[in-house]
C-alpha cells in the first residue's frame, strides 16, 4: 500500500441521523411519547476523497451540508453509519486514543482550554495529556508563542480572553504535540479582520514550513482564496466539486461579474432581459449576464442609459460567487471524479 504520502483516505463514508419528529402542541407531544415517528437524515452521503500529506484543503458547504459531520467522523467523535475513513492510516472511530495523538483539532465555536485556568496551565495540562516531553514542549511553545503572539495572554484565565485571543490560544493548544494533521472547524468565525489575518498567516506558515496537512471548514471565502489550494464543496452530504481552487476560478473566469453602485434615488432596478442580479447590498448590485446574446458593452450601455450610476466595475468572479451560483443551480458542474485530482 502506498499509504506513506496519504494523510486522509475516505471511502463511501456515510452518516445518518435519526431525528424523532414530535407533533405540534401538547397532544402531538403526548402522542410522540407513545408512538415515535423517526425520520432518517443523511448528513454525509457516501463520499470519497483522498488527501495527501502537506495539502491545505478547504472543506466548504452551506449549513447542514455535512462539513462538521465529516470532520467529526475523521476526528473520532462520530461513528459512521457505513463506509470507512483512515487518518494517518488509523481508523479514527475505532482507535480513538491513537488517532487523537496524531491529529490536532480546533472547533471555532468551542474551546479546548480549561475555562477557569490561566492559559499557561491549560497548555501544561495538555502537555501531560498528550505525553509531550518537557524539552519538545518548550521548543514547540517558543515557536507558537512567537508566531501567535501568545506571551501577554499566558497568565490570563481563559474566560477573560477575547474571541480572537482565545482562538490563537486554541490553535496553539491543538499543536502542542505537533500533529501531522490539523482539523479546523470554522477557525475564523466571529473574528475581526486583523485577528482573521493573523490566524491565516500562521496557518499558511505551518503548512509551508512544517508540512502540516490542514483541513479547514469555513464560511469565509477569503480563507479559501488565501489559504486553500484545493477545495472540496459539499452539498446535502454529497461532494459536488473536488479540485484546485484555481481550477474552479479558471473554469468560470469568462463568467464576468459587473459590480454596479447606483445613486440612492435610483436604487430599485427593473428587470433587464438576459441580466441576473447575483447579489445585492444596499445600492450595490452584482450582475451576471447571458454571454451568448449580449456583449459586456451592451449590458453596461443599457444600465447606464436607464439609471444614474455612482460606480461600476467588471470583476472576475470570486470563489464565493461561484459557490453561490453552484448552490443556486445557475452553474451546472459536471461532477468531477475525485480521482483525477488526487493523482
Amino acid at each position: 500500500m502506498q499509504h506513506d504520502n496519504i494523510a486522509i483516505e475516505v471511502t463511501d463514508l456515510r452518516k445518518e441521523f435519526k431525528v424523532s419528529l414530535s407533533g405540534k402542541g401538547f397532544l402531538g407531544k403526548l402522542q410522540a411519547l407513545f408512538h415515535r415517528s423517526n425520520k432518517v437524515i443523511t448528513a454525509v452521503n457516501d463520499i470519497d476523497f483522498k488527501i495527501r500529506r502537506g495539502e491545505f484543503v478547504g472543506y466548504v458547504g452551506e449549513n447542514g451540508a455535512g462539513k462538521s459531520t465529516t470532520i467529526k467522523m475523521l476526528t473520532g467523535i462520530l461513528v459512521p453509519t457505513s463506509g470507512t475513513a483512515a487518518v494517518n492510516g488509523i481508523v479514527p472511530y475505532k482507535d480513538r486514543k491513537k488517532n487523537a495523538a496524531k491529529i490536532g483539532v480546533v472547533f471555532g465555536q468551542r474551546t479546548q482550554l480549561w475555562w477557569d485556568l490561566p492559559v499557561r496551565e491549560s497548555f501544561d495540562l495538555l502537555r501531560v495529556i498528550f505525553r509531550v516531553s518537557r524539552s519538545d514542549f518548550d521548543r514547540q511553545m517558543e515557536k507558537l508563542e512567537k508566531a501567535l503572539g501568545l506571551r501577554p495572554l499566558l497568565e490570563m484565565p481563559v474566560r477573560k480572553l477575547s474571541l480572537g485571543q482565545r482562538m490563537r490560544c486554541d490553535i496553539a493548544a491543538a499543536l502542542i504535540h505537533n500533529p501531522p494533521v490539523l482539523f479546523l472547524d470554522e477557525p475564523t468565525i466571529g473574528l475581526d479582520v486583523l485577528a482573521k489575518q493573523s490566524v491565516r498567516n500562521f496557518l499558511s506558515e505551518i503548512n509551508r514550513t512544517v508540512g502540516t496537512t490542514i483541513i479547514l471548514t469555513t464560511h469565509d471565502m477569503n480563507d479559501i482564496e488565501q489559504l486553500c489550494k484545493r477545495l472540496i464543496i459539499l452539498e446535502e452530504g454529497k461532494i459536488m466539486f473536488d479540485g484546485e481552487t484555481e481550477l474552479l476560478k479558471q473554469k468560470f473566469i469568462h463568467e464576468k461579474v459587473i459590480e454596479v453602485e447606483f445613486y440612492e434615488n435610483d436604487c430599485v432596478m427593473q428587470e433587464i432581459s438576459g441580466v441576473t442580479v447575483v447579489r445585492e447590498q444596499g445600492c450595490k448590485k452584482w450582475l451576471t449576464f447571458d454571454k451568448d446574446n449580449f456583449g459586456i458593452g451592451d449590458v453596461i450601455g443599457t444600465i447606464a442609459s436607464q439609471y444614474k450610476i455612482k460606480d461600476i466595475s467588471v470583476k472576475e468572479p470570486s470563489v464565493e460567487s461561484i459557490i453561490r451560483n453552484i448552490y443556486d443551480n445557475r452553474i451546472k458542474l459536471s461532477t468531477p471524479s475525485n480521482k483525477s485530482f488526487t493523482k
Binding site: 467523535i77 472511530y93 487523537a100 468551542r110 496551565e121 495540562l125 495529556i129
Partner: protein, 266 residues
C-alpha cells in the same frame, strides 16, 4: 504508570478549580451533615418506639447505615461528575473528551471531584463507632480485612448503577431526572433492612437492581447474623462479585453509548 500520573494531574486541576468557590464548598458540607443528622434522628425516634425493626436492633441498623454511608461517600467522591454528565452531552462538550488520547470515561470522572463528599465518610465513621458499640460487634482480623473489600464492592455496585443510567444520556440526551431518581431510590431503599419488604421487592433488590448487596447482605457477616432474608447466608459474601459484574456490564453499556454519541449540531 504514565497514565496514572496523567490522571493525578487532572485530579489536582479539578480540585484547584473547585476551590475557587470556597463558600459553596463549605455550604455543601454543612447541608450534608444536617441531612444525615436528621436521618439518624428519625431512626432513633422509630427505634425508641418499636425497639427493633424486623429483628434488627438499633445498633445493627446503625451499622447497616454506616456501610451505606461509606459506599455512598466513596461513590460520590469518584462518580460525582456523572450526575451532570447530560450537560456535557447537550453542550457538545463531550466532543473534546473524544479528541484526546485518554479514556473518555477516565477523563469524565477525573474532570471533577466532590471533595466535600468527605462529609459522608465522617458520618460513616461515626455510625460505625456507635454501631459497633450498640450492636457489640466483635472486630476479628478477618472482619477488619474484609471491611474495605466489602466497601469496595459496594462502591462498584453503586458506581456501576450510576454509570448505566448516566450512559442512557447518549441515547436520550437529557436524563438528569432519571439519574436523580435512581440515586435517590438507591439511598432510600437500603436505609432499612431489605427483609422488611415483600419477597418480590427483595428479589428485585437482590438480582435486578442489586443494591441489597451494598449493605444488607454483607452486614450479616459483620454482625454475625444468620437466617432471614432471601437466599441468605450464601449471599453475605456476594458483594465484591456482584460489584465486579455490575461494573463490567456498566462499562460495556458506556462503551456502546460512546459509539452512539451524536454530538450536537454546527
Amino acid at each position: 504508570m504514565d497514565t496514572i500520573r496523567i490522571y493525578l494531574t487532572l485530579f489536582a486541576t479539578s480540585i484547584k478549580a473547585r476551590m475557587e468557590y470556597k463558600a459553596s464548598f463549605l455550604f455543601y458540607i454543612f447541608a450534608i451533615l444536617t441531612f444525615y443528622i436528621g436521618q439518624i434522628g428519625l431512626l432513633f425516634v422509630l427505634l425508641n418506639r418499636f425497639h427493633q425493626i424486623k429483628g434488627w436492633t438499633m445498633g445493627e441498623m446503625v451499622f447497616l447505615y454506616s456501610l451505606h454511608a461509606f459506599a455512598y461517600g466513596f461513590t460520590n467522591l469518584i462518580f460525582s461528575q456523572l450526575v451532570n454528565f447530560d450537560k456535557m452531552i447537550v453542550d457538545g462538550e463531550f466532543d473534546r473528551v473524544l479528541v484526546r488520547p485518554l479514556s473518555p470515561l477516565g477523563q469524565v470522572i477525573f474532570s471533577k471531584f466532590e471533595i466535600s463528599t468527605a462529609a459522608h465518610l465522617i458520618i460513616g465513621f461515626t455510625a460505625l463507632y456507635f454501631g459497633t458499640h450498640l450492636a457489640g460487634i466483635e472486630w476479628t482480623l478477618r472482619k477488619i480485612l474484609l471491611f474495605p473489600v466489602i466497601v469496595g464492592g459496594a462502591v462498584l455496585i453503586a458506581g456501576g448503577i450510576r454509570l448505566v443510567v448516566t450512559a442512557v444520556a447518549f441515547w436520550t440526551l437529557r436524563n438528569r431526572s432519571l439519574v436523580h431518581t435512581v440515586i435517590f431510590s438507591t439511598k432510600e431503599f437500603i436505609n432499612y433492612p431489605v427483609n422488611i419488604y415483600n419477597l418480590g421487592m427483595q428479589f428485585f433488590l437482590t438480582f435486578i437492581f442489586p443494591i441489597a448487596f451494598i449493605n444488607f447482605y454483607p452486614a450479616h457477616f459483620f454482625l454475625d447474623r444468620s437466617g432471614e432474608g432471601l437466599l441468605h447466608p450464601a449471599l453475605e459474601m456476594g458483594t465484591p462479585i456482584v460489584g465486579i459484574i455490575v461494573f463490567i456490564v456498566s462499562t460495556f453499556t458506556w462503551r456502546v453509548g460512546v459509539n452512539h454519541y451524536q454530538s450536537t449540531g454546527s
